[in-house]
C-alpha cells in the first residue's frame, strides 16, 4: 500500500512535465505574441521588446519550456499579467465563491442520483423505469446554455424567486445567490449520473451472488440495498471522486453567467485576456488535484472492495 502510494505520487512528476509541455506548446509555440495584447494598441516596439524580455519570451524555446516546468514544479506562478495581482491571492479569493456553489450542488446531485437510480433499478423494465430513463436522456439533450438562460429568465426574472446574478461571501446571504446556479447544476448532472448509476446497479443485479441472496429468502429491497448497492459502490466511488478536482475549478459557465467571482470566472477571464500565468496555474493545480484524487479513489477502493490490494 505505501509502495503504491509513493509510486503514484512519483507519477506526478511525468504528469507535470506533460501538462507543462501541453501548456508550453499551446501558449509559447502556437499562440501569438501576448506583449502587444497586454500593452494595448499604442505600444512602441521598444516597450514590446522590454516586456517580452521581462516575461522571458525572448529566450530560446527550450529555455522557455524549462521556465514553464520550473514554475510548475515550484508552484510559483508569479503575478497575473492582466491584473498584476498575486495568483495565490486570486485563487484564495475565488475559491470560496466557487466552493459554496459547487460543493452543495455536487453533494445534493450525487445523493439524489443514487437514490433515483436505486428506485429505477428496483422497478427495472417497468413504466417508471422507462419514464425516468427517458427523462434522463431528454434532459441530457438540452443545451446547458439553454437551461441557464431559461431558468434565469423564468425563475429569477419572471417569478423573482432568486437573485438574478451577483454574489455576497457571507453566510447565509450567499445562499440566495448560489441557489439558482446550484439548481441548474443539479438538473444538468441528474441525467448522466442516474443513467450511469443505473447501468452499474443493473450490472450487479444479474450476478450469481444476488441469486444466492434471494435463495436465502431475503426480500428484494434488502437484496438491493445491502448486497447490490455495496458492490455497485465500487464503480460509483470512482465516478464521483474523480469529479471532485474539477469542482475546485468551479463551474465555468455558471459562474460567468451569474457573475459569481469564483475560480471559473477567473479562468475564463484569464483565457480571454491571454493571462498566461493564471491559465498555467489553473492547469497545473487541477492536474495535481486530478492525480491526488485518483490516488484517493484507489485508496477508497480498498475500503469498498476487500479483493483490491494495492501493490
Amino acid at each position: 500500500m505505501t509502495n503504491y502510494i509513493i509510486r503514484r505520487l512519483l507519477y506526478l512528476i511525468p504528469v507535470i512535465f506533460g501538462v507543462s509541455f501541453i501548456i508550453f506548446i499551446l501558449f509559447n509555440v502556437v499562440a501569438g505574441d501576448p506583449a502587444p495584447l497586454l500593452l494595448g494598441k499604442h505600444a512602441t516596439a521598444q516597450q514590446i521588446h522590454d516586456l517580452r524580455e521581462q516575461l522571458g519570451l525572448n529566450k530560446p524555446l527550450f529555455a522557455q519550456y524549462m521556465d514553464v516546468v520550473r514554475s510548475s514544479f515550484t508552484l510559483d506562478f508569479g503575478r497575473s499579467w492582466a491584473t498584476r495581482q498575486d495568483i495565490y491571492d486570486m485563487i484564495r479569493q475565488g475559491a470560496w465563491p466557487s466552493l459554496t456553489l459547487t460543493i452543495p450542488a455536487f453533494a445534493i446531485s450525487t445523493i439524489v442520483s443514487v437514490l433515483l437510480s436505486l428506485v429505477v433499478a428496483f422497478y427495472r423494465g417497468k413504466g417508471i423505469d422507462l419514464f425516468i430513463r427517458f427523462l434522463c436522456i431528454a434532459g441530457m439533450s438540452i443545451s446547458s446554455v439553454a437551461y441557464i438562460l431559461f431558468f434565469q429568465y423564468f425563475l429569477a426574472y419572471k417569478m423573482g424567486w432568486f437573485e438574478i446574478s451577483g454574489y455576497e461571501p457571507e453566510f447565509p446571504q450567499f445562499l440566495s445567490y448560489v441557489a439558482l446556479p446550484g439548481i441548474i447544476w443539479i438538473v444538468l448532472s441528474l441525467g448522466p449520473d442516474v443513467r450511469f448509476f443505473r447501468t452499474v446497479i443493473l450490472d450487479e443485479i444479474y450476478q450469481d451472488y444476488v441469486r444466492t441472496a434471494r435463495a436465502k429468502g431475503l426480500g428484494e429491497i434488502t437484496v438491493l440495498l445491502k448486497h447490490v448497492l455495496r458492490n455497485a459502490m465500487i464503480p460509483i466511488i470512482t465516478y464521483v471522486v474523480i469529479q471532485i478536482p474539477f469542482l475546485i475549478l468551479g463551474a465555468l459557465l455558471l459562474e460567468s453567467f451569474f457573475s459569481i467571482p469564483g475560480l471559473g470566472g477567473i479562468t475564463l477571464n484569464a483565457l480571454n485576456s491571454s493571462d498566461f500565468p493564471v491559465i498555467k496555474a489553473m492547469a497545473v493545480l487541477s492536474s495535481i488535484a486530478y492525480i491526488l484524487f485518483s490516488l484517493l479513489t484507489d485508496v477508497l477502493y480498498t475500503l469498498a472492495d476487500p479483493r483490491v490490494k494495492l501493490k
Binding site: P14, A31, I142, L249
Partner: protein
C-alpha cells in the same frame, strides 16, 4: 437450415436495431438532419437566412414559422443553417478524434510494455486538465471560428475512446481466437488488424454517436462564449442572442435553436443506446 439464411454479427445487429421502433425513428431523424445539412451546404432547397424578411422581432406566424430576429431575418432559416454547422462539427470532429483514439488505444492495448506506458502517461496528462479549459484555450489560440472549433473538439475528443479501445484490445489479445491466429503462424499485424480490430469496431460505432452529440453540445457552448462560428448563424450564436432578447419577451430564437438541437441530440442518445444493445455481444442473451 438453408444456406442463404446465413447472417454475420453485423447483419444480425442491424436487423435487431431496425426492429426497435425508437431506434429506427432516431435513425431516420439523424438521416433527415444529415440531409438538411447537406442541402444547406449546397444552398439547395433551403430558405435564405441572410436577407431581411420584415420588421425586427416578428413573432412566429404566417410563413415565418419562427418569426424574425433583430435584423428581421428568418429565424427558421437560421435554424436550418445552424443544422449544417452542428452536423459538420459532429462529422469533422469525429473524423479527427476517432482515428486518433483507435490507433493510440490499439497500439497501447496490443503491444503493452513501454509503448503502453508512454501512451497511458499521455492519456493521463490529457485527462488531468479540465476539458473545457483545453477546449477554450485551443479555440482562442487558433483564432475564433469554425476551424478552431473543429480542431479543438477533434484534439480533445479522442481520449475517452483511446482508453476504451486500449482496455478492450488488451482483453481480446488474450482470447483464444487470437492465440489461435498465432498458432497458425499469424504475425502481429494480422492479429491486430484482421482479428482484434473488427471485434472492437462496434465500440467505435457507439462512440461515434456519442462524439457527435458531445461535439454539437460543445459547439453551442463555444459559440455562446463568442469563440465559435463567426458571421453566420449557429445554434450557439442564436442562444447567445437570446440572452438579450428574453427580457423583451422574444423567446423564438432560443426555442428554435434549443428544440432543433434537442431533437437531434435525443436521437443520437437513443440511437447510441440502441446500438449498444444491438452490437455489444456481452449483452446478448441477457
Amino acid at each position: 437450415m438453408q444456406d442463404q439464411d446465413t447472417k454475420s454479427l453485423w447483419g444480425d445487429a442491424f436487423s435487431r436495431l431496425v426492429r426497435d421502433r425508437w431506434a429506427l425513428i432516431s435513425l431516420i431523424i439523424v438521416l433527415a438532419y444529415s440531409l438538411i445539412a447537406l442541402l444547406a451546404s449546397f444552398g439547395v432547397g433551403v430558405p435564405d437566412w441572410k436577407t431581411s424578411m420584415g420588421a425586427e422581432y416578428l413573432p412566429p406566424g404566417g410563413s415565418l414559422w419562427l418569426g424574425t430576429d433583430l435584423f428581421g431575418r428568418d429565424v427558421f432559416a437560421k435554424v436550418i443553417h445552424g443544422t449544417k454547422i452542428a452536423m459538420s462539427v459532429g462529422l469533422v470532429t469525429s473524423l479527427i478524434a476517432i482515428p486518433i483514439g483507435v490507433v493510440i488505444g490499439a497500439l497501447a492495448g496490443y503491444f503493452g510494455g513501454w509503448i503502453d506506458d508512454i501512451i497511458s502517461w499521455f492519456i493521463t496528462t490529457f485527462s488531468s486538465i479540465p476539458n473545457i479549459m483545453l477546449l477554450i484555450s485551443i479555440t482562442l489560440i487558433l483564432g475564433k471560428g469554425l476551424t478552431s472549433v473543429y480542431l479543438a473538439l477533434g484534439m480533445t475528443g479522442w481520449v475517452g475512446l483511446a482508453r476504451l479501445i486500449r482496455g478492450e484490445v488488451m482483453k481480446h489479445k488474450e482470447r483464444e481466437y487470437v492465440q489461435a491466429a498465432g498458432a497458425i503462424g499469424g504475425g502481429h499485424l494480422r492479429k491486430l488488424f484482421i482479428h482484434i480490430l473488427p471485434n472492437v469496431t462496434h465500440l467505435v460505432i457507439i462512440n461515434t454517436s456519442l462524439q457527435f452529440q458531445t461535439a454539437i453540445k460543445s459547439e453551442v457552448i463555444l459559440s455562446y462564449l463568442g469563440l465559435g462560428v463567426q458571421g453566420e448563424p449557429s445554434w450557439g450564436t442564436m442562444i447567445d442572442d437570446a440572452r438579450m432578447e428574453l427580457a423583451r419577451g422574444v423567446w423564438w430564437q432560443l426555442a428554435g435553436a434549443t428544440v432543433a438541437m434537442f431533437i437531434v441530440v435525443l436521437a443520437f442518445n437513443i440511437l447510441g443506446d440502441a446500438l449498444r444493445d444491438a452490437l455489444d455481444p456481452k449483452l446478448k442473451g441477457k
